[in-house]
């Protein structure tokens, strides 16, 4: 466990000292800021964070892979993975350590966006339910996206490949609920239920449904499990 902590702590330090992470942070805040203010120009604006949450889920499809692409791909590229994997560190400790680091950075980004909520509470009286539920949903959604990105980083030594493949997977999951209509039948239902976006909608409306929480937690667990297996497979090849 201490080694997982050490891995996480090292990665967190790198996040907060590298320009990439700050660029990601800047773009996240700039774009979500745009979505947040979009509806405020209406003659009768609604005191809601819904546009912000909608924007954040889209922006994060692009940004989560950018945060995670470095995590293992760079170790493979530089060869440092050789020392990491010949140290007495369990594979899950490496994966969990790296994942926790990306999660910490993500949570800081999300925390910065509380600024929008504060603005609403100061200048209007929004319904706190959807805001609280929305943030919970956003954190779960981001956690899932980071797990996807971590898996692709584990599979390659090329950061660009990692990011592009992760974006592909995330986009596919994002739009999967369209399969309800377009494919139909049982297959359409199964694929549709896998959709990221569909499980986020309830949170945005202020509904905290266990089903949705279980979905996101399962996605995280599934992709972390695959990441651990992928890292392990280096020892079989």
């Amino acid at each position: 466990m201490r080694t997982a902590q050490a891995v996480a702590w090292k990665e967190i330090q790198i996040y907060f000292s590298s320009p990439t992470a700050y660029i990601v942070g800047l773009i996240f805040l700039a774009l979500t800021g745009f979505f947040f203010t979009q509806d405020l120009g209406d003659p009768f604006p609604e005191a809601t964070l819904a546009p912000f949450f909608y924007g954040a889920t889209i922006v994060f499809i692009l940004l989560a892979p950018a945060l995670t692409m470095r995590l293992l791909a760079e170790e493979s590229k530089l060869g440092t993975i050789e020392l990491l994997l010949t140290s007495p560190v369990r594979d899950w400790e490496v994966i969990v350590g790296k994942y926790v680091a990306s999660l910490v950075f993500f949570l800081v980004l999300v925390a910065l966006s509380f600024f929008y909520a504060i603005l609403l509470f100061v200048y209007a009286s929004p319904d706190p339910g959807p805001i609280f539920a929305g943030y919970l949903g956003l954190v779960l959604y981001g956690s899932a996206a980071l797990a996807v990105g971590l898996l692709t980083s584990t599979m390659t030594n090329n950061q660009i490949v990692s990011a592009v493949v992760a974006m592909g997977i995330l986009l596919a999951l994002f739009f999967a609920d369209r399969a309800f209509g377009s494919i139909g039948g049982l297959a359409g239902e199964i694929i549709g239920e896998m959709g990221l976006r569909g499980h986020f909608d309830d949170f945005e409306r202020g509904v905290i449904d266990t089903k949705n929480i279980v979905y996101f937690v399962s996605v995280v667990a599934f992709f972390l499990f695959l990441s651990i297996r992928t890292l392990e497979s280096r020892r079989w090849r």
């Binding site: 201490r2 080694t3 050490a6 891995v7 090292k10 790198i14 000292s17 590298s18 530089l78 060869g79 440092t80 993975i81 050789e82 020392l83 990491l84 994997l85 010949t86 140290s87 007495p88 560190v89 369990r90 280096r234 020892r235 079989w236 090849r237």
Partner: protein, 323 residues
């Protein structure tokens, strides 16, 4: 500096049996077996691509062998990987380091990964920095260090947790001659308490540092001995060259008749008769030969030992030539 002798060598620390590794259809190593005793410095000698790095990666548990097994201190590197890995310090050939970190932070990180407590790391870092002569650079970012200093950082991370087994892949490649000498001295010092396996394609280096040498070529072990014995001749035979002025038909049987002579070959070089004598290992027959020649009334025109250098053996071994 000859090979160390008189060291109290103990049972095998590393035991490798029938190691074979395939990259796709191509075998990198085939049926490599060896043992390394506690406190021994074993050198892997071979040209590039001979399979040295693959062997080291298998010992350290980075890649699994396709066939065969390795145990470290009794722990199988595949089955009991974690226990085996606890006992290893490893310096890969490319010296992979996190270039963004300072030397001290890097060593702290590697120490933690190897399961050291923060307290143990704190006391140990000072020693390691001293041993590897990194004193003035301990706060420097690794990316700003020269190749030679990075090499030292690489060794420092390999020894920080005082591993029982030290695996060094080409530890002196690409650094300047003065640093090479220092690095070799450092390895010898480490070899007093630890089991060291190192690879090299530089002969004098291996014969200088190592207690025992494995020569590996095209994935197979082709010779194994102490540097001294290897230099004495691959099959335990010493060679002499004698030039004798006398009738070949008489000289040949007389030379062959000397006790300790295994074989004599004759070459006629424009009337100069040179005889190459294969003698039994370790025997210096120069006195007997010169007496035999002179007592028969012939003239002794030349006599010399043709000791084979390790370099020659190496060349022969790796170019498929028979002795």
């Amino acid at each position: 500096m000859g090979p160390k002798t008189g060291k109290n060598l103990q049972p095998d620390m590393i035991q490798a049996k029938g190691l074979t590794h395939y990259y796709g259809p191509y075998p990198a190593i085939q049926d490599v077996s060896f043992g390394v005793r506690k406190g021994e410095i074993l050198g892997f000698l071979g040209p590039n691509g001979a399979g040295k790095t693959t062997t080291m990666r298998i010992i350290t548990g980075f890649v699994p062998p396709t066939h065969g097994s390795v145990t470290l201190d009794g722990y199988d590197v595949v089955e009991q990987s974690l226990e085996a890995r606890r006992r290893v310090g490893y310096l890969p050939e490319t010296v992979p380091l996190y270039t963004d970190m300072s030397v001290t932070n890097y060593l702290k990180y590697m120490g933690t990964l190897r399961g050291m407590s923060p307290k143990a790391i704190k006391t140990r870092i000072g020693d390691v920095v001293d041993v590897c002569r990194l004193g003035d650079y301990s706060k420097t970012q690794i990316g700003k260090l020269s190749k030679g200093f990075r090499q030292r950082v690489g060794i420092a991370q390999a020894i920080i947790h005082e591993p029982q087994v030290l695996v060094l892949d080409e530890p002196t490649i690409g650094i300047d001659p003065i640093q090479v000498v220092e690095t070799r001295r450092l390895i010898q010092e480490l070899g007093r308490d630890q089991t060291v396996v190192l690879s090299s394609h530089i002969l004098p280096e291996v014969s200088m540092i190592c207690d025992r040498v494995l020569i590996i070529n095209e994935g197979r072990i082709v010779a194994e001995d102490t540097p001294k014995n290897l230099a004495e001749g691959l099959q335990g035979v010493d060679r002499l060259e004698v030039e004798v002025g006398g009738p070949v038909a008489q000289v040949l049987p007389i030379l062959k008749g000397i006790a300790g002579v295994n074989d004599v070959a004759h070459v006629n070089n424009n009337g100069r008769h040179t005889y190459t004598i294969q003698a039994e290992a370790g025997k210096d027959l120069r006195n007997e030969i010169s007496r035999a020649v002179i007592s028969n009334g012939w003239s002794l025109q030349g006599l010399q030992l043709v000791g084979m250098s390790l370099e020659e053996i190496f060349l022969r071994l790796t170019t498929h030539e028979e002795l």
